[in-house]
């Protein structure tokens, strides 16, 4: 249980991919509205760093995205969740899951960088 997206660090996000996630969606409070002042701003910077890492290792940067919402925006949350799930379905399973499922189109080491 995280009290704030500011607690999320890069290793937590990468662990999700190691554990088999095809995509990770981070939802923080609206910018300027963080109970801990700048937790959501810090989270965004960390998500951007993970975005760069995923791009470098060819897992695919589009598999991670940060959204900002207030607790009262239920319908917007549902719309964002659907949008992200559609995006991940379009990209397909992560290369890690393809390898694990034995359907590997293995990314060569050269391609992985």
């Amino acid at each position: 249980m995280l009290p704030c997206t500011g607690r999320i660090d890069e290793s937590l996000l990468l662990k999700a991919f190691e554990n088999g996630a095809d995509g990770v969606m981070v939802i923080g409070c609206l910018e300027g509205d963080c109970h801990y002042v700048s937790g959501n701003i810090r989270a965004r910077a960390r998500v951007e760093r993970v975005y760069a890492i995923l791009e470098k290792i060819k897992i695919g940067p589009k598999r991670i995205r940060m959204y900002n919402l207030s607790a009262g925006e239920g319908s917007k949350f549902a719309a964002f969740a659907n949008e992200f799930v559609d995006q991940i379905r379009e990209i397909g399973p992560s290369p890690i899951n393809l390898v694990r499922a034995g359907k590997a189109q293995v990314v060569t080491e050269k391609e992985a960088t």
Binding site: F17, E18, V107
Partner: protein
């Protein structure tokens, strides 16, 4: 602190090509402060390497450790019980730490995960600047606390030189002239007479010119 920057991930993956079972060692010292080789960076790099290698169809086993300091034997020795079980150690400590691991574990290849930078200070979050070159003969008391060896591109002892224009060094328009800084500071401190106390030449025998240096404190042995 000793600063550093991460090596590109492709360079690290190339280094690790022969290995499937490694230790990734961080350090709680300087490299933690400059966010390049601490416990968090160990976790992030280990995950990144595991993901890249698994996507390439060749998994890698990584033992993640983070020592109090990689430059002190008592902490490095904590790794000895398990080092024989691994093919290599990737260190994200400074060059001193990486070399110390190589010295202590002679049958295990020691690989650098970062490029070590310089002795410097944090000017603001994410920005570090060089302040000391460890020349072994400090003159900061005569130069207003500004080091001519580090801050002057030529390490002059009688600057500013002709390449100083309006307080900017000729090597880069972003670099302030170290000697202009010294003169301005001495003037502000009303200590300009210190300029005349500097040695006409500097003995570099306490610096790197005599090869790798050693400090022996008889009172501590």
């Amino acid at each position: 602190m000793i600063t550093g920057t991460p090596k590109p991930i492709e360079e690290i993956l190339e280094m690790l090509e022969p290995y499937d079972n490694i230790v990734l060692a961080g350090c709680h010292g300087c490299v933690t402060v400059c966010r390049v080789g601490g416990e968090k960076e160990v976790q992030v790099l280990a995950s990144t390497l595991r993901l890249a290698r698994e996507a390439a169809g060749r998994k890698i086993n990584i033992r993640e450790v983070s020592l109090e300091r990689q430059c002190d034997p008592e902490y490095v020795e904590q790794m000895r019980p398990y080092m024989k079980d691994y093919q290599a150690v990737l260190s994200i400590a400074c060059g001193a730490g990486i070399q110390f691991l190589a010295e202590k574990f002679t049958t295990t290849p020691s690989l650098p995960g970062i490029n070590t930078g310089f002795l410097g200070v944090t000017e603001r979050q994410g920005e570090w600047a060089e302040r000391c070159q460890g020349c072994g003969d400090c003159v900061l008391h005569l130069t207003g606390g500004i080091c001519p060896v580090t801050r002057c591109a030529k390490s002059l002892f009688h600057g500013p030189c002709g390449g100083s224009v309006q307080g900017i060094c000729e090597v880069d328009k972003e670099v302030k002239c170290g000697w202009q800084l010294i003169i301005d500071r001495l003037t502000a401190l009303d200590q300009l007479e210190n300029y005349g106390k500097l040695k006409p030449y500097k003995g570099w025998n306490t610096s790197r010119d005599g090869g790798p240096r050693r400090i022996i404190r008889e009172d501590m042995i």
